[in-house]
Symmetry: C2
Subunit: 468 residues, 2 copies
């Protein structure tokens, strides 16, 4: 047997029914047309949490965010002096696009070979729901229990704008000792993993305009500005031919990892061959000649998420495209700030607007800076002991290339020590068609929810005791 | 009054009804799903031509092209010894995409302020239909008439593959003295224009593949190959920062224009300011520092007609796109061959496939080489005299940047002298949403059809007399 215990109790019928009901709601938080689905989902979650003895829950909508998906806030009192756990998750999911690549309906949970296929099956509905199922079991068993606070938002996939803006105002209700998040991956070979760092994220859209409408590529070829070529040139200019970021000032101030961090990151990572076997592609992105662990965990990126211009249908169409768009997201690391990298990229692009074209930068989402947590944190020690009971190999530490922008904000306002442990696998294909979550992963997340909640309740991590 | 005579007789009710019926058929020849529409359209045209006294018409489908839109072939005998006119046009139209930018339904002819809005209103249904209406009027008046041959195909917009392949076999039925085509533009200020050269065209699609599916741009950022960035780099590599073609060998052997041709091309061209006023964009495409007339008429181009990869919907989606595609068309000039430029571009791209990605070149359409006709041609002299009766300024000569690949093929097999005179204007927006054709343009094309047919009948251009 490899990895964590596989002989987990099967998910019971009530839990599976609830899980599937949760997945059916099309809570794509970034799509204004799905706001009613998000509201329905938030209402469902409130009822679900209120179904656990001792919890009070509400749907929160702060001033200025009346049209945003509501935030679910819940609290369950603990014994006097007990530590407080703030549990964060998000109920919004990525768009299901491209729909035609799904083998089953994207919002109809479909169980096959021990996995549940559905948008959100893992990210993040499946992970937080499983964690809360563990908490629910612990409550059912009579504890021991810490004070529990829950915040579940509906905008994580699009930048957590409401929660980030409102966090300061909610601070008294968010104070805690431990900030628990179940939205990350397990380590290689399903070994448990504690996240010791996250990259930050900043995203924006570039639009480029040439002629007021598409022009005939023969009549106007060589004369009219071509927006498709313009956007290609702009996008290509962001990297050197060797894949290094070519934007002046972008990498200024970056804090390199310590030797201890780099060694731990290596231990928690796959080999290149394992990476290729898992993803189906060689790890050939990013800067040539730089170690994959560095590129993935400790260096920033500029990734183009989409580029679109002109004709894309069957056959050909001999036009000079009038307009083009590129969606770009950047991952940043400690030492960089969202505003700093945005400025650098904006200057870079503005200096390169192709002749005869007009550029527009819009949809800017200055998500959050990156973070790195000290390996010596007492919460990490507690988590490591708990996870060692799952897997005799104990946990690995990871510096996740992904971002949960709201985590650093919640860390600040709650005063809590972040504890990010999740049970994702690459085969879950989050953000892609045919997302899924294994029932073994679900069981591991549920067990983790129960065990870490119990461990924190029994620990001496008093209020502020988790402070680093 | 500027330009050609405006006091043209209005299009009559029967002709307008026929014109609108012709436009309603969605004969997008490049789209296999529209084959039935193309067949319907060809059948309609056959009946229309058979409605003119003396014509015989048939729908022709050669071996190997059973699934291609049929070719309409028609003939009307002339007096013994009379010259023969071969009239060529195409009934296929460009796709209507992007549909959402049309102000009226793309296949419902809508008349407004003296213009008819519809896909194909000009290119080429409107132009050839108007020309044939002129021929029809001449027949109604009792002539004089040459022998008339008509070939109308349904694949011009996608490369004329059936007609080009079958032309040799059809040669006996295509022999003529003059090859008349009405598929081009009038000169500046609607002065009549004779086309003395066309660029050739070659087109293809590049597909680029990275991971087998989209990956999370955080988890995999800096590690997985990004197909959107890869296609941008490939596309950008085709030109230097100054807009010159950067493909080695691409421009080898190009024949520059003579001083006489260059002077005539200047006379037949707008100023940069007129170009900008007409198109709404400054003529800033192509190679920096090179004369616009040269760039447009006598130099080759590589134009990207479309580039697509990754997410393009509302909001953001933090993915690393797995696949990307670019549709590319190239205009070539005398001295270049379709096979030669394709080889050069293929070598260029193959040498630059980004690390970790797989490239595929497909959908290759080696349309045709460019052509240049001698200004001393007797057919040009006849056409110039005829057009001078329209407009006292007489015609200008143009070297059109666009391509009608089949023209050089028909020229070869028919032995005829090409005579390309059309009445398009930039505001017609061919290949774009809201294509239209002015009723004054329609009347001019009809008058031209009548007058040049009569002039050829009365001329001493015997068989082969038009040879150059």
């Amino acid at each position: 047997m490899c990895g964590m215990e596989k002989t987990v109790p099967a998910i019971d019928a009530r839990a599976k029914r609830d899980y599937f009901d949760l997945l059916r709601m099309q809570s794509v938080g970034a799509d204004p047309a799905r706001l009613p689905e998000c509201e329905k989902c938030a209402g469902w979650i409130k009822s679900y949490i209120e179904g656990m003895p001792g919890f009070e829950a509400e749907l929160y909508r702060g001033e200025g965010f009346e049209d945003a998906p509501p935030i679910v806030l819940a609290r369950r009192a603990g014994a006097p002096g007990a530590p407080t756990v703030l549990f964060y998750g998000h109920y919004d999911v990525q768009p299901e696009d491209p729909v035609e690549e799904w083998l089953t309906p994207p919002f109809e949970p479909t169980e096959k070979d021990g996995r549940v296929y559905c948008r959100g099956a893992q990210d993040d509905k499946g992970q937080w729901f499983a964690f809360l199922e563990g908490v629910r079991a612990l409550i059912g068993e009579g504890g021991p229990l810490p004070e529990l606070k829950i915040v579940l938002e509906g905008q994580e996939e699009s930048g957590s704008s409401a929660l980030i803006a409102l966090a300061e105002r909610l601070a008294p209700r968010l104070k805690a000792d431990v900030l628990a998040v179940c939205d990350t991956h397990a380590g290689p070979d399903f070994r448990p993993a504690i996240v010791a760092g996250l990259r930050g994220v900043v995203s924006f859209t570039v639009n480029l305009y040439g002629a007021p409408h598409d022009l005939h590529s023969g009549t106007h070829g060589g004369v009219a500005p071509n927006a498709a070529q313009g956007i290609a040139a702009l996008v290509a200019s962001l990297h050197t031919p060797d894949g290094a970021i070519a934007v002046e000032g972008f990498r200024d101030g970056i804090l390199p990892p310590s030797d201890e961090e780099l060694a731990a990151a290596r231990e928690g990572s796959q080999s290149d061959a394992e990476y290729e076997a898992e993803t189906g592609c060689a790890p050939e992105g990013g800067e040539k000649g730089v170690d994959r662990i560095l590129r993935n965990s400790f260096m920033p990126t500029i990734e183009v998420n989409g580029i679109h211009s002109g004709y894309g249908g069957p056959g050909g169409k001999t036009v000079i495209p009038a307009a083009a768009t590129a969606k770009i997201s950047m991952r940043i690391v400690p030492g960089q700030t969202p505003a700093g990298v945005l400025d650098a990229v904006r200057r870079h692009l503005e200096a390169r607007v192709p002749r005869g074209m007009r550029m527009e930068i819009c949809d800017v989402k200055p998500g959050a800076p990156g973070c790195r947590l000290p390996l010596s944190s007492p919460v990490f020690a507690l988590a490591a002991r708990t996870l060692s009971a799952f897997d005799p190999r104990g946990p690995v530490f990871q510096w996740d290339g992904a971002s949960i922008p709201v985590v650093s904000v919640l860390q600040d306002v709650s005063g809590a020590a972040p504890l990010l442990v999740g049970f994702g696998r690459e085969e879950d294909r989050i953000h892609s068609p045919n997302e899924s979550y294994g029932l073994d992963q679900f069981a591991a997340a549920a067990r983790w929810g129960r065990e870490i909640t119990r461990a924190i309740a029994l620990s001496d991590i008093a209020r502020k005791g988790g402070e680093q």
